[in-house]
C-alpha cells in the first residue's frame, strides 16, 4: 500500500475550485467566440484549442493525472492522442467530396 500512495500529493479544495473557475471562464470565452464572424477554420482552431486546454485541466487536476506517476501518463496519453490523430486521415476526402458535389 505504501507504493500506491507514494505518488499522491494531498490537494486542497482550493486547487479544485480554481480549476472549476478556469473551466467556467474558458467556457464563457468559447460561447462569446461563437458569435464572432470568423472564418470557420480559424473558429475551429480556436474552439478546439480552448477545449484541449479544458480537457488537460480536467485530466491533470480533477482526474489527478498530474499527481500520478509519469509512467501512467506516458502509457495512456500519447497512444490515445496518436489514435485520435490517425482518425483525421479521412478529412481530405471530405473536402474532395465537396468539390465533387453536384451544385
Amino acid at each position: 500500500m505504501e507504493t500506491a500512495h507514494a505518488g499522491h500529493v494531498e490537494t486542497g479544495p482550493k486547487l479544485y475550485v480554481l480549476t472549476w473557475v478556469w473551466l467556467l471562464v474558458l467556457t464563457a470565452i468559447e460561447v462569446t467566440l461563437a458569435y464572432f464572424h470568423l472564418p470557420v477554420g480559424l473558429m475551429l482552431f480556436l474552439l478546439m484549442g480552448l477545449s484541449i486546454v479544458k480537457a488537460a485541466l480536467i485530466m491533470a487536476h480533477f482526474m489527478h493525472l498530474r499527481f500520478e506517476r509519469l509512467n501512467l501518463v506516458v502509457t495512456l496519453i500519447p497512444a490515445m492522442v496518436l489514435c485520435i490523430t490517425l482518425l483525421m486521415v479521412f478529412f481530405p476526402d471530405g473536402v474532395r467530396a465537396l468539390r465533387l458535389a453536384v451544385r
Partner: protein, 209 residues
C-alpha cells in the same frame, strides 16, 4: 535527472512492482476511458467529416433557448465535476458522510443535465428533427446530433446510476477509497467529452443574429 532515469529503468520497470503505482481496478478504468474516448472521437470525426462534405449544413441553434440552455448544461456538468473531486477528497480524508453528501450533489448536477437535455431533444423533435430528416435540409444533421448527444447522455445516465451505487455502498460502510476515486475518474471523463461535443455540435451551429 540521470538518477531519475536510472530509477525508471531499474526500479519501476524492473519487475516485482507495479510500474504505474495504481491498483488494477484504477488502471482498468483508465484503459476503459482511453477506449471510450476513441469511440467518441470516432463519432466526432465522422460528424466533422459529413459536415465538411456538406456546404449547406444547418446552423439552427438560436441564442435563446438552445445556446443559453447548453451553456447552463455545461455549467451543471462542470460543477458536478467539482463536487465529485471534493467527494474523492472527502473519501481520502475518511469522511464517509462527506463522500455521500458530495456524491449526492454530483448526481443532482447529472440529473439536471439530463433533464435539460431531454427538454431540448423534445423541442427539436417537436420542430420535426428526425434521424433521417429535418426542416433545414441536410438529413444527416439529425442523425449526427442525436447519435453524438444521445451516446453522451447515455454515459451521464449510467454515471448517475454508478455514483448512486457507490454512494449507497459508502453510506453502508462498503467500498474503499479507490472505488470512490475510480467512479470519480468515470464522471470527470463524461464531463471531458462534453467539452468537445459542446463547441463542435452547438457552438459551430449557432444562428448568427
Amino acid at each position: 535527472m540521470a538518477e531519475k532515469a536510472e530509477r525508471l529503468r531499474f526500479v519501476e520497470w524492473g519487475g516485482g512492482v507495479s510500474p504505474f503505482a495504481v491498483g488494477s481496478k484504477k488502471l482498468g478504468m483508465w484503459l476503459f476511458i482511453v477506449s471510450d474516448s476513441l469511440t467518441f472521437s470516432g463519432l466526432l470525426v465522422g460528424y466533422s467529416y459529413v459536415r465538411i462534405a456538406n456546404e449547406r449544413w444547418p446552423m439552427p441553434f438560436e441564442f435563446w433557448p438552445t445556446i443559453v440552455m447548453a451553456t447552463v448544461m455545461t455549467f451543471c456538468l462542470l460543477s458536478s465535476s467539482l463536487t465529485m473531486a471534493l467527494a474523492v477528497r472527502a473519501s481520502s480524508l475518511g469522511d464517509r458522510a462527506g463522500v455521500v453528501r458530495y456524491i449526492a450533489l454530483t448526481m443532482l448536477g447529472g440529473i439536471l443535465f439530463v433533464l435539460l437535455h431531454a427538454k431540448e431533444w423534445a423541442g427539436l423533435i417537436a420542430e420535426g428533427v428526425r434521424l433521417w430528416e429535418n426542416p433545414w435540409g441536410v438529413p444527416l444533421f439529425g442523425a449526427s446530433f442525436f447519435t453524438l448527444t444521445g451516446l453522451h447522455m447515455l454515459h451521464v445516465i449510467s454515471g448517475v446510476i454508478y455514483l448512486g451505487v457507490i454512494a449507497l455502498g459508502v453510506s453502508r460502510g462498503r467500498f474503499t477509497h479507490e472505488d470512490v476515486e475510480i467512479s470519480g475518474l468515470y464522471w470527470h471523463f463524461v464531463d471531458l467529452v462534453w467539452m468537445f461535443i459542446f463547441p463542435l455540435v452547438y457552438l459551430l451551429s449557432v444562428k448568427m443574429p
